[in-house]
């Protein structure tokens, strides 16, 4: 929480940080949309011609696959945010 010391190399770069956060967020939300609303609903009929094991692919995305991707997305976000915070010298 403490403000970063005023030396030039340690000052947090807030102006650069936020646009990158927005870009990251939108990218991950695109994936979020694709695996659930995309693969699980809008493209389900098309994807159902393929199979994963014994399950039609679109159906599987709707009932299992999308959930795995959701979990992965949040951890990717955490890792990417930690990297961004280091890059822009932001200390939580």
């Amino acid at each position: 929480m403490a403000d970063a010391p005023e030396s030039s190399d340690r000052t947090p770069d807030r102006k650069g940080y936020w646009p990158e956060v927005i870009r990251l967020t939108l990218t991950l939300l695109a994936v979020w949309f694709l695996v659930s609303f995309g693969a699980g609903i809008l493209l389900r009929e098309f994807l159902d011609q393929f199979h994963i094991g014994g399950a039609p692919l679109g159906f599987w995305f709707a009932q299992n696959g999308s959930i795995y991707v959701f979990v992965a997305l949040i951890f990717c976000y955490c890792a990417a945010m930690n990297r961004l915070e280091k890059k822009y010298r932001i200390e939580d």
Binding site: M1, L28, G40, F59, A62, Q63, D92
Partner: protein, 592 residues
């Protein structure tokens, strides 16, 4: 029955023990567990907070009955965590207050906005909690032979102890224990059922695997079986894609906007912990949510295979009866069916008088009527017996269901009591209140909320809206709370006028639409009468888009928010940079 009692008593004792250990000493402890909860621990508590009696007992059965159509719950109730992690949780934690109406009231520098948010939070939480309390009553009355109302009193007493003594701190650690109980009770039978049907111990893999000893996949076989009996295909739905889209979206945005979920992320030390914690919460939730569709499919397959076209044998004298049937060359109905018949969760009505049990769908090719009714909860409850697991596992499942109901009820109680003691008393009506007095008021409000919730549970059968939790709670959270929080973080220009207009545009049409089609004059309406063909469960999403547009439009034609507020928004976007800002923090300093 005895095993059930032992499990219930043992787990209740555990919860009380934790409650005595985790008492709250300040409002900071009471509302946000002193901001000291480890992200993984909070993830586990969030999972228990989130998974209600309905998730635990009913969801697998719901999916089993709906097939692909049930996917809306699976995606909807997990996808919301991505929104929470990316769009809300870390920023609200950085904001550093106690409640959701705190954010709305301070970010929009308006007591009116705070009170509107309190109304939304209270309505959503009371609708939700009544269902949990009645779930507790049902569990007690069905499995422990206790009267329904007495069962609710038991549940109230136990929640009372840890919510009133420990506040969020007590609730957090009991929720962790409750998660362990419920996930164990859910996965153990699922593993054995999966082994039995598909030879694969991992239910998620059994779900996509072949049937044991056969060359056909479990899902394919199930789909053929249900279609052959005249049911809808398991792998598709008669709902339109657009409606499925809207319901899924309403559940996702609703999940992200539910106050009892959001406040869990106030309990961790830092913003970065809040996002990590959302990830862990989803891991713990996904464990149950990826198993649920497998349990549903396995159980539906099993139930049809073991019950359809067998000779009915009543519970009284089952052993002899089934022997007689076997000797005569017939197949007796399974023992579990007879056992569960006494609870009323399964029933047989011999319509054609042939003594055989026929399971049929609405479009049965042989024209026979369905004679077997099966409650959704049976798919989870009867699993241990179907898998021939020992009797103690069955009792464990009941204890798991109670854990799911109590943990969710406790989370909701925290929202209700803090909305009253903090937002209404401390921040609106009695601004000079000391911390000590507020803590006392908070305990009192929690106690009153427990009692109110208990009464709502007792009268839940008469309160028609309680049965519409999915439509009301999620629709209202999505349409009224989610937009103002999202815009409050990501759009600095969003002002007081816009926020109030947006919340009201979300609240009123959603409420009216659901009321009309679920409880009012439109109850008998068909999907053709729905607005754009969207069912009441999905309307929250449609109204949400409208309330965002209204919020933005009204903000643009009115004065921008004061500089203090704009600086505040800058601060909450950057972890570790939150400072106090005059107008936004004059009523309450942010807590680090």
């Amino acid at each position: 029955m005895d095993w059930t009692l032992i499990w219930v008593l043992a787990t209740f004792g555990l919860y009380i023990g934790i409650a005595l250990w985790a008492r709250a000493g300040s409002t900071n402890d009471f509302y946000v567990a002193g901001h000291g909860v480890h992200p993984v621990v909070n993830g586990m508590a969030t999972a228990a907070d989130w998974m209600s009696a309905a998730s635990f007992l009913s969801m697998a059965g719901l999916i089993a009955g709906m097939g692909y159509g049930g996917s809306v719950y699976l995606m909807g109730w997990t996808g919301g965590y991505v929104l929470l992690a990316l769009l809300l949780a870390p920023f609200l934690r950085e904001f550093g207050k106690f409640t959701v109406p705190d954010f709305v009231g301070d970010r929009y520098y308006s007591g009116t906005a705070r009170v509107v948010a309190v109304i939304c939070a209270l309505f959503v939480s009371f609708t939700y909690i009544a269902g949990q309390m009645s779930g507790v009553g049902i569990a007690f009355s069905r499995f422990l032979g206790v009267d329904f109302n007495t069962g609710i009193l038991f549940g109230m007493a136990i929640v009372f102890v840890y919510a009133v003594l420990g506040g969020m701190k007590g609730v957090t650690y009991t929720q962790v224990a409750q998660y362990v109980v419920l996930i164990f009770a859910y996965t153990v039978p699922a593993i054995f059922i999966s082994l039995m049907l598909t030879s694969n111990p991992v239910p998620q893999l059994g779900f996509i695997g072949n049937l044991r000893g056969e060359d056909i996949s479990m899902l394919q076989k199930l789909d053929e079986t249900v279609k052959g009996l005249g049911f809808e295909s398991y792998l598709s739905s008669t709902k339109t894609s657009f409606d499925i889209f809207c319901i899924t979206a309403a559940l996702m945005f609703g999940t992200a906007g539910l106050p009892h979920v959001i406040i869990r992320f106030f309990t961790v030390p830092r913003a970065s912990d809040a996002r990590l914690s959302a990830g862990w919460a989803l891991v713990f939730i996904a464990l149950l949510y990826t198993i649920a569709p497998a349990v549903g499919a396995f159980a539906r397959h099993n139930i049809i295979a073991s019950v359809n076209e067998t000779t009915y044998v009543p519970a009284a004298g089952y052993a002899q009866g089934s022997q007689l049937v076997s000797e005569a060359g017939g197949t007796p109905s399974p023992a579990w069916f007879a056992n569960w018949e006494t609870t009323g969760l399964v029933a047989f009505d011999d319509r054609n008088g042939d003594g055989q049990m026929q399971i049929r769908g609405p479009a049965a090719p042989d024209g026979l009527e369905n004679e077997v009714t099966i409650n959704n909860d049976i798919y989870v409850l009867a699993n241990p017996e179907i898998a021939q697991l020992p009797e103690w596992v069955i009792g464990l499942v009941v204890a798991g269901g109670l854990a799911a109901a109590l943990s969710t009820a406790a989370g909701l109680l925290m929202v209700i009591s803090s909305a009253i003691s903090h937002d209404l008393c401390r921040r609106t009506f009695f601004k000079g209140m000391t911390d000590k007095t507020e803590l006392r008021v908070a305990r009192g409000a929690a106690a009153a909320a427990v009692i109110a919730a208990g009464f709502m549970g007792i009268y839940s059968a008469d309160l028609a809206f309680v049965a519409q939790v999915v439509a009301f709670a999620f629709g209202l959270a999505a349409a009224s709370l989610f937009p103002v929080i999202l815009l409050g973080i990501f759009w600095k220009r969003m002002n007081r006028e816009g926020a109030i207009a947006s919340m009201l545009t979300g609240l009123i049409p959603t409420f009216a639409y659901i009321w009309y089609f679920k409880l009012g004059a439109g109850k008998a309406a068909t999907s053709e009468d729905w607005f754009l063909g969207v069912s009441p469960e999905g309307i929250g999403f449609v109204v949400m888009t409208g309330s965002i547009v209204v919020g933005v439009a009204v903000s643009l034609v009115t004065r921008p928010p004061p500089q203090d507020i704009q600086d505040l928004v800058e601060d909450i976007r950057i972890p570790g940079s939150r400072r106090s800002h005059g107008i936004a923090d004059s009523g309450m300093a942010p807590v680090d």
